[in-house]
Point group: C2
Chain length 466, copies 2
C-alpha cells in the first residue's frame, strides 16, 4: 500500500539542508533582516537552525554584519553557538556580547564546553567568563585547565557513571535513578566498573544493562574491548585509539591509575577532524588558519614557509649559476631544465605525502620502512624511465639533438629515483629526531629534488655536449 507521497519539489533551503550547506539564500535573508533591523524576522529565521550552523553563518559573513547581527539577536544568543564558533572569531564575538548575554550563554554550557571555549582566550576574557560561573562549575573548569593543552585530561568530561565491581544490574540501575541530574554526564553509553582503589576494571554498555536481569552480576557483562586513557596522553593519540579500536567511550585515569573522567567518541571525532585539518594545512606550509582571519593574520601565517622556500630556491639557483657558461652556449638548457626539476618535485611530493600520512596513522614503522623506501625507489626508476623516454623524444623533436635527448632522459631517471628516496626518507628522519614531518619535509624534499635535478641535467649536459 503506497504511503502518501511526500511533497516532491524542494525549496532551495531544503536542497541546501540536504547536503548540509548553509545556502546563500538563507544567509541573504538573515542579512536582510539585520539590515532592516527586523529582530522578529531574524529570530524566526534562526530558530530552526542548529547552533553549529548559526556558528557557520557567523563565520561566513563580514565582521561588520556579524556585530550588527549579534547586537540585534541579543538575549536569544545560545551558549552552544559560542562553543561551535571558530577560534578565529570567538574572541571578537565574545567582545561584542553584552555581559548579560555572555553570562547567560556561558551558564548554559557543560563544564567541558566551557573549557573548550575559554582555553585559548586572552586572560581578561577568560577571567570575565570564569567570574559568571557558579563556584562548583568554576572549580571544575579551573581543574580542567590545570591539565596541559591537547591532553586527555583537558579533553575529558569529569562526570562519569561508575559502579563497584561487585554490583549487580539492579544495584547499578537503582543508583542511576537516584543520582541527581546535574551529577550525571550529559551523554553516557557505559557504566565504568571500578575496584576499591577507584581503578577502572571494565565497562558495561547500557544496552546490555537494560536487557539483563536485575540479579546479573555486572562483571558478567563486561565489554571485551576496554581502553584506559592516561590523563597526560596526547589527544591525537586518544583520537587514534578511538578510531583504531572502535571505542565509544573510555575512562581517563590520573598517574595513580584512578578514574577521574571520561572521553566520549564525539570529542575524539572532533579531535580527529582538527588533526586532519592541521596535517593537510601543514603539508602546504600554512599555519593554523581560518577563513575568517583578516589579511594581516593570514599574511603572517603564510610568510614563514614562503621565506624558507625563498632560501631553498636561491640555493637551487646557485647550482644553476655554476653552469652559466654552458647555458650561454646552449640556451636550450635553460628551456628544459625546469622540467626535470619540476618532475622531481612532484614525484617527491607524492612520496612525501604518502610517507607523512603513513607515519601519522602508524602504518610506517621500523618494521617496514626499508621495504617502503625500496619500493619508492623502484617506482621512481620505472616512472623515471617512462618519462625519460618521453622527454628524450620531446628533446630530439624540439631541439633536434639526440645527445640532448639522452641527457635529459638520464637526468629524469636520476631525479625521480632520488625523489622517491628523499620523499620517503626525509619524513622518517625528521620523525626520528622529533620534528613534525608534516611541517618540515616539504621544504627539504623539494630542495633535494631541485638541486639534484638541476645538477644532474646541467652537469651531464656540460659533460656530454660541451
Amino acid at each position: 500500500m503506497l504511503d502518501q507521497v511526500e511533497e516532491t519539489a524542494n525549496t532551495p533551503e531544503e536542497e541546501d539542508s540536504q547536503n548540509y550547506q548553509l545556502g546563500p539564500k538563507t544567509v541573504a535573508s538573515v542579512l536582510y533582516a539585520v539590515e532592516i533591523d527586523d529582530r522578529a524576522r531574524l529570530i524566526e529565521l534562526m530558530e530552526p537552525m542548529h547552533a553549529a550552523d548559526i556558528a557557520d553563518l557567523l563565520e561566513q559573513i563580514s565582521a561588520f554584519d556579524r556585530s550588527r547581527l549579534i547586537r540585534l539577536y541579543d538575549m536569544e544568543f545560545d551558549g552552544e553557538i559560542l562553543s561551535e564558533l571558530d577560534d578565529a572569531i570567538r574572541e571578537d564575538v565574545i567582545a561584542i556580547l553584552t555581559p548579560q548575554v555572555l553570562s547567560q550563554a556561558v551558564r548554559e554550557l557543560d563544564s567541558d564546553d566551557v573549557v573548550d571555549l575559554i582555553e585559548d582566550l586572552e586572560d581578561a576574557q577568560q577571567e570575565a567568563i570564569l567570574d559568571v560561573l557558579e563556584s562548583a562549575d568554576r572549580e571544575a573548569v579551573e581543574k580542567a585547565l590545570s591539565w596541559p593543552d591537547y591532553s586527555a585530561g583537558r579533553l575529558m568530561q569529569r562526570e562519569v557513571v561508575m559502579a563497584p565491581q561487585h554490583w549487580t544490574v539492579g544495584q547499578a540501575i537503582d543508583n542511576l535513578r537516584n543520582t541527581p541530574e546535574d551529577d550525571l554526564p550529559d551523554q553516557f553509553y557505559h557504566i565504568v566498573m571500578v575496584d576499591p582503589r577507584l581503578h577502572p576494571v571494565g565497562q558495561v554498555t547500557l544496552g546490555k544493562l537494560m536487557r539483563s536481569k536485575r540479579t546479573t552480576a555486572l562483571r558478567d557483562l563486561l565489554e571485551e574491548t576496554f581502553q584506559i586513557i592516561p590523563a597526560m596522553q596526547d589527544e591525537g593519540d586518544v583520537a587514534y585509539a578511538f578510531n583504531q579500536y572502535h571505542l565509544i567511550s573510555a575512562p581517563v585515569v590520573d598517574d595513580e591509575g584512578r578514574l577521574i573522567g571520561m572521553i566520549t567518541i564525539d570529542d575524539a571525532m572532533a579531535v580527529l577532524d582538527e588533526e586532519h585539518e592541521e596535517d593537510i594545512l601543514r603539508l602546504a606550509g600554512v599555519g593554523e588558519s581560518s577563513l575568517s582571519d583578516r589579511v594581516i593574520e593570514t599574511t603572517k601565517q603564510r610568510l614563514p614557509w614562503l621565506a624558507v622556500n625563498l632560501v631553498t630556491a636561491i640555493a637551487a639557483s646557485m647550482v644553476i649559476s655554476q653552469f652559466e657558461a654552458a647555458i650561454a652556449q646552449i640556451v636550450a638548457l635553460a628551456v628544459l631544465m625546469p622540467i626535470v626539476a619540476s618532475m622531481g618535485g612532484n614525484a617527491g611530493t607524492q612520496s612525501l605525502t604518502v610517507a607523512v600520512r603513513a607515519i601519522a596513522t602508524k602504518d610506517l614503522t621500523g618494521s617496514n620502512v626499508w621495504r617502503v623506501i625500496r619500493r619508492e625507489c623502484l617506482v621512481g626508476l620505472i616512472n623515471g624511465a617512462i618519462f625519460a623516454v618521453t622527454m628524450g623524444i620531446v628533446g630530439v623533436i624540439w631541439f633536434g639533438s639526440p645527445a640532448l635527448g639522452l641527457v635529459i632522459a638520464a637526468a629524469m631517471v636520476i631525479n625521480l629515483v632520488v625523489a622517491g628516496f628523499a620523499g620517503t626518507g626525509i619524513p622518517i628522519l625528521l620523525e626520528k629526531v622529533g620534528v613534525d614531518p608534516a611541517l618540515a619535509s616539504g621544504a627539504f624534499v623539494t630542495t633535494v629534488t631541485d638541486v639534484v635535478g638541476f645538477f644532474a641535467f646541467l652537469g651531464l649536459a656540460a659533460a656530454v655536449l660541451l
Copy 2:
C-alpha cells in the same frame, strides 16, 4: 592516603602500547615464531593483541612472511581481523585462508562488517564468502550491496531498536528484554520512535530511558538534535553531519521516508578518516594507495598525475623558449627565473590547500567567496612586496644590476598576487563545474603560476634590460 605505587619501569612493549604503535620488538618476536614454526608461541604472542593491531602487523610484514604466518595461525584467525585489514592486502589474505578458516571467520561477523569486507572483492571471492553465510545473513548482505557504493544505505546496519511513538518507558524496556539477541544491533545507544507509517519521529537515549519512571511517555524524552539520513546520501555528507551536529547515531530512511536502518558514530568516524586520507593524498596527486601496495600498483597510481605535470611543465617551458634570445644575452635570467616561478607555486599551493579544505568543510560558500579571494590577493600583494624587496636586493648583490633587481621584484609581486587569485579561484571554479577540486586544482594552479612567473619575469627583463 597514598595508593600502592604502580610499577614504574615500562617494558618496550608497554611503551609502544601507550602510544599505540606496533613495536618492532613485538613484530620481530612474531616473525621469529613464524620462522621456527612455533605455533604455540605465535598464538601466545597474538593472544593479547586487538584484531586491529593484528591487521596492522599483517600489513607491515612482507607478503612472504604474511602467508607463512596465516598458514601457521590457521583456525585461530579471527573474523574481525579480516574487517580490519587494508583493502590492498585483503584479497591476498582471503586467497591464503583455507575454506574452513574463511567460513568460520566470516560467520563471526555482523552483516555490515561482511558487507564492508566483500564489497570491493572480485566476484569469485565475493560468491565464495556469500556461500558460507546462513541464508538470513546472506540476504541482509545482498540487500546492503544493492545500495550504491559510498551511500548511507551501504554504510548502515539494518538492525534498529524502534518503538511506536505512543509507548511508555516501561513498554520500551520490556520489548527490549523480550527481543532475541540476534535481532538486536551489536551496539545501540538510542531507541528510535516511529509513527504508524514507520517514519522516524525522534529518538530517546538509553541513559534517559533508564533514569525515567516506567510510566513516562517516550515522547516526553525525545532528544533535541535529531537527523534523518536518506539512504542515498553520500557517506561523506553523513560523516560531515555526524561531526557537525555531534550525532551518536542516526536513523536511515528509504525514499518513502521509512526507517530501514541506522548509522552509528563509529562508522561515521571511520568514513571521516578515509575521506581525510583521500583528500590529503589527492592533493598530492596520489590515487587510492596503501603502504602494502606492490611496485607495479604504486607506479600505476603515481603515473597519471606525473604525466599531467609533464605536460604542464612543457607548456611552461614553451613560455621560456619565447625568450631564448634574451636568456642568451643575459644568462642571469636563467639563474633567477626558477625563483619567481617557485615562489608563485608555493604561495598558490598555500591558497589552494586552504580553499580545498574550506570547500570540503563547507566553510567556503557563495556567501564569502569574494571576500576570501580579495583577502588572498591582498595577502599575495603584501608577501609579494616583502619578497620583492628581498629578491631585488639579492639580485643587485648577486649580479650587480639594479634594473635586474627591479625586474625580479616586479615579477615577484605580480606572481604572488596571481597565485592568491588562482589558488582560491580555481578550486571554486572546479567545484562549480562538478570536478573534485582536491583532484585537479594542483595541476591548474601551478601551471598558472609557472606560466605567469616565467612570462612576467622574462617579459619584463626583455622589455627593460634589452
